[in-house]
Symmetry: C2
Subunit: 197 residues, 2 copies
DNA sequence: GTTGCGCTAGAGTGATCGTTCTAGTCCTGG
DNA sequence: CCAGGACTAGAACGATCACTCTAGCGCAAC
């Protein structure tokens, strides 16, 4: 293997820059020339690492940043006293992140998913796999806390739905209040489910 | 005034076609040439009715379809026995609509809002006004049912957040279950608020 | 019946899109 | 020390982008 170190760094710069651009302006509005500029890479490098072009790069961005955001949420939730408090913490952390970043989208999956869901089936499937992964991981945390399988799945799905809806609202209104309100409600619902067990 | 009838019809065809295209593929991926073709209009007509070009047309689409979707939801909610049931009905109706349309976005505001929120302030403001309008209308229904002003605003905001998040999930997963689950939860929360009054 | 205007028609503008391609450079294994 | 592959560099391609512009159509007022 030749030059693995520097090549991996370039590939990484491309992914990071693309993720950042997607968070600000989504999939269609982001051009390869912007990615080239922001990542200090070249067109050749992009097509070397992602021979499938923009779509392959986008798929990888979805997978990597989806997993990363999942890790972040899971670690916040698991480090709390119980899952209900943890999920509340996750909402609060996301809200803080949004305000600090001047309401840049904390994660690009929802935006891109809605952009491509009806026009690009391979990318839709990647986005769906990412979201299903989030639901699965959250549901596992809840079943670990003795919530029944069915309740855990429904609650986990509700959490993801609420986070995504919260991103739309907060970003559009430039206000985290709706996001925090939704987080408090979800936290209470999870607490109720824990109490029933 | 000359030819008011036919001109209004053309303007309307442009708006309808653009709304439809935005629902499927969002703002950036929709080109004026697609709009020309889908509306059987010409470039000249588009710039005659919307001198500000794509952005002015987009703003009008957001306002018109936002108001239209608001009307639809309000009429469903108001025709139910009580607001809680009505909101549940609205979720069910939206879910049915989504399945019938092969998961085309029922309304383009959320997608476009997230696309442009960080890059096009005038359009972001239009989207924000539309969403605030929805919240206000829903809150008014709840205060009419003797929910306190504060609770009504918080619940209304939660309803909009949940609907938007539900659209993201349902469209991406091609499954209305998460949307319906979220709707049931929201309906129960509203019912609780009504019971407290 | 002609003037005026709302509206349509669509070719043309420069810019930029995603992608391809050829020429390199640089490191590494033998 | 050289052969070869990983990687970079960026010019060039046809297509398409939002938008402009000139020409002309068709109805209404007078």
């Amino acid at each position: 293997m030749a030059r693995t170190t520097s090549s991996a760094a370039t590939r990484d710069r491309i992914l990071v820059a693309t993720t950042e651009l997607f968070r600000r302006q989504g999939y269609s509005a982001t051009s390869l020339s912007q990615i080239v500029e922001a990542s200090s890479a070249t067109t050749g490098s992009i097509y070397h690492f992602f021979p499938g072009g923009k779509d392959e790069l986008t798929a990888e961005v979805l997978r990597v940043s989806g997993a990363g955001y999942g890790d972040l949420v899971e670690s916040v939730v698991r480090s709390a006293l119980d899952p209900a408090v943890g999920i509340g913490d996750a909402f609060a952390a996301a809200a803080a992140l949004m305000q600090e970043s001047d309401f840049i989208d904390p994660c690009p999956i929802g935006t891109i998913a809605r952009e491509v869901a009806s026009t690009n089936e391979p990318l839709r499937l990647v986005a769906a796999e990412v979201m299903n992964g989030w639901v699965r991981r959250l549901a596992a945390i809840l079943t670990d806390a003795n919530v029944s399988q069915g309740d855990a799945e429904r609650l986990a799905s509700l959490v993801v739905t609420t986070i995504e809806g919260g991103f739309v609202m907060a970003r559009t209104l430039r206000d985290v209040a709706p996001f925090l309100t939704a987080g408090e409600v979800v936290q209470r619902l999870v607490a109720d489910a824990l109490g029933d067990s």
